[in-house]
Symmetry: C2
Subunit: 409 residues, 2 copies
């Protein structure tokens, strides 16, 4: 059993690194960056210890050469696949893509998924207790970067005893993390899969994030980010602001075509226009967005939303490493880059820029724009074509890696 | 002088229907739909009297055959050209397009511009005093349609003694009004100029409007729309919500290319990233959007924003008149339809649908997609190519009209 090879400092014992098909998965926690070795952030702050929530699926090979790290998007979490138990049947957010025989085939690979630094789903974030004050960090949490997120995950991978990942994969903010992995830890991965992402957020993307943050920060329940019970706040926090931010962001995740397809101008409650201003959910798309906003507030922390969108705005691979070619030239990992035809938040043109830089540096890169009506969300929805692409890509990575290993013996 | 031909019920006397080059212009007011003949809205409400704020530029010909009606967009007003006086030098919103020798040449044409019903710039709207209660209408104002807006403007044109307009022109929501003019008052115009518009708002457009309205209505200072001094409210009204709505809408008016061109990722105050969350205007685009939101709140009423975006959502020419071809087939006016290459709020594809319907019904239609980096705002910015198009189009309309008149003698 692979368990042997895993460090035994997990908070939940015993650590179990495999999951048979149909078996329940559990979220585990690792504590890293314990003082006196805290994480030094790109912004110059120090933070530690850092707790990381993560899950694993499949079995780590004795050679530890079959590990794939999954990077989640803005509001994702460690629960990427499987179900937690009979009382909690909610499948992971990429359950159709991770599992036996699926895109990331857990019969073959050991898949790791971890919540990001700054998040609110188990990994240390602004809602976590500051060891200095004994109260939640709130806005005292350091402004973090995608690089900081990846540093924490790299420490987790090391902590799991894995020297080099077979692949790192992610979409959107997850794809940014993949690119950062390749530039910051160039020897720690054999391949990189970047989905619906880019080497930087567009200025338009920053603009949308600005409005979302503004919605949160102007909500009177925001209270400078101290909207937690620990501060005697029984109130719901900036739920209107957070819901607004989500509604707005949600529009950018869909394509005009997908909205048209799914809702068009159909009305929610009636066949006829109501001529009422206060019936705010007259059109189905209105109702849908309101519902999305409402549901999001139940599961996400407004402060995490601020910090993670800021990390997204800050991400700029070329600025961080001199140029795009210098950044991607640091690794000899092979790349698979996928964009989606109707994604206007991370348009194909941005993927092409990245691919051009990869080609220029002589990297092994495959690129495809997949036709999909689902806009930016396609990487979460259109899993059949992605599965067809990823399986041979991973197999090839493994073959290549074995060849390289044999050659270097 | 044309003054003779104008009804004398204006609130401000004497009415002056011409403006020499360089002369100041003034906003005039007409009171229409006086009881017992109030306006019956499409939603089944009645409202009257209705005050209309309007301006005119140029001189009405003795034959009254040179009048052009300008329809403003969502947050425009009657002040489309010229300046109000030495203390108020702010040029009208389309001043580069309306004036002697300009696109709408006031040496040739008599141009009328009026604020829309439901607005907050002089024409009756939710902030106006209800004759029933003696207090502002607030949300008791009826939900109005683009058709209602146009009905009020048609009454103004009649009131000005003009039987048939040479042309009706407008962009965005203004373009919707142009289409409604053609369908609702088919004999009242010789030509129609539709810029950056469509026969209906896309579902994505409805989605953005929904979020904007939600931002206003969840602002605690909204107070069910009773945020006026008349109700003892000294507070600023839902200014955060209204600013958010504007910031968001403003992104949709720009193109990714124009944001990139104008701001890119440039920082506002520094050369270096600040790693501060609360410096909300770190990037120039953030600063710009915040400024736009702030400035907008000073000049616009939140309730008007609710009613006018709702009118925009409701607009659907095909539903109102059976089909698109039936709608545009009602008039024999000639059409000029202009779209802009980077406009994603009213994309060229929507203009093409409209043009196809016009062609199908045998209308005289010219269509062009102008190359412009400025997105939806192009119709307010790219005035040189528009001027080059509009001048011969109007000249031809006039020739055609004279020919028709001679033939019918």
């Amino acid at each position: 059993m692979a368990t042997d090879s895993v460090p035994t400092t997990e908070q939940e014992q015993p650590t179990k690194l495999e999951a048979a098909p149909g078996e329940y998965v559990e979220t585990k926690f690792a504590t890293l960056f314990e003082p006196p070795q805290p994480l030094k952030t790109d912004g110059g702050a120090t933070i530690g210890p850092v707790t990381v929530a993560y899950e694993t699926y499949g079995t780590l090979s004795p050679e530890k050469d079959n590990a794939i790290f999954v990077c989640h998007a803005l509001t994702g979490d460690a629960h990427a696949a499987g179900r937690h138990g009979p009382e909690c049947e909610k499948p992971g957010w990429w359950d159709d893509f991770i599992g036996p025989g699926k895109g990331l085939d857990t019969n073959e690979y050991f898949v790791i998924s971890a919540n990001v630094l700054g998040g609110c789903q188990g990994t240390t974030g602004p809602g976590s207790i500051s060891p200095t004050t004994g109260k939640p960090f709130c806005l005292e949490f350091p402004v973090i970067t995608v690089g900081d997120i990846v540093s924490v995950h790299a420490a987790l991978v090391e902590h799991l005893g894995i020297e080099k990942l077979l692949s790192v994969i992610g979409g959107s903010l997850g794809g940014m993390q993949v690119l950062e992995w390749a530039a910051r830890f160039p020897d720690k991965l054999s391949s990189a899969v970047v989905l619906a992402s880019a080497a930087n957020l567009s200025a338009q993307g920053i603009a949308f994030n600005t409005v979302g943050r503004r919605a949160i920060m102007t909500d009177p329940h925001f209270k400078d980010g101290r909207h937690y019970k620990a501060f005697g706040e029984d109130e719901p926090g900036p739920r209107f602001g957070l819901a607004l931010a989500r509604m707005l962001a949600h529009i950018t995740y869909l394509s005009e075509a997908s909205i048209e397809l799914k809702f068009g101008r159909r009305l929610q409650h009636s066949e006829e226009l109501g001529y009422e201003l206060q019936r705010e959910t007259e059109f189905q798309i209105e109702s849908y967005l309101h519902y999305q906003g409402k549901r999001f507030v139940e599961r996400f922390d407004a402060n995490s939303y601020l910090f993670l969108t800021k990390a997204m705005d800050y991400f700029h691979l070329a600025d961080s490493y001199g140029s795009l070619t210098e950044a991607v030239g640091r690794t000899d990992a092979s790349f698979l880059v996928v964009s989606y035809s109707t994604d206007w938040l991370f348009p194909t043109s941005q993927s092409k820029e990245l691919v051009a830089a990869l080609i220029e540096t002589g990297r092994d890169v495959s690129f495809i724009e997949l036709d999909s009506p689902y806009g930016h969300d396609s990487f979460l929805i259109e899993l059949e074509p992605l599965t067809a692409l990823i399986q041979p890509f991973l197999a090839q990575t493994r073959t290549q890696r074995n060849t390289d290993t044999s050659n270097s013996r």
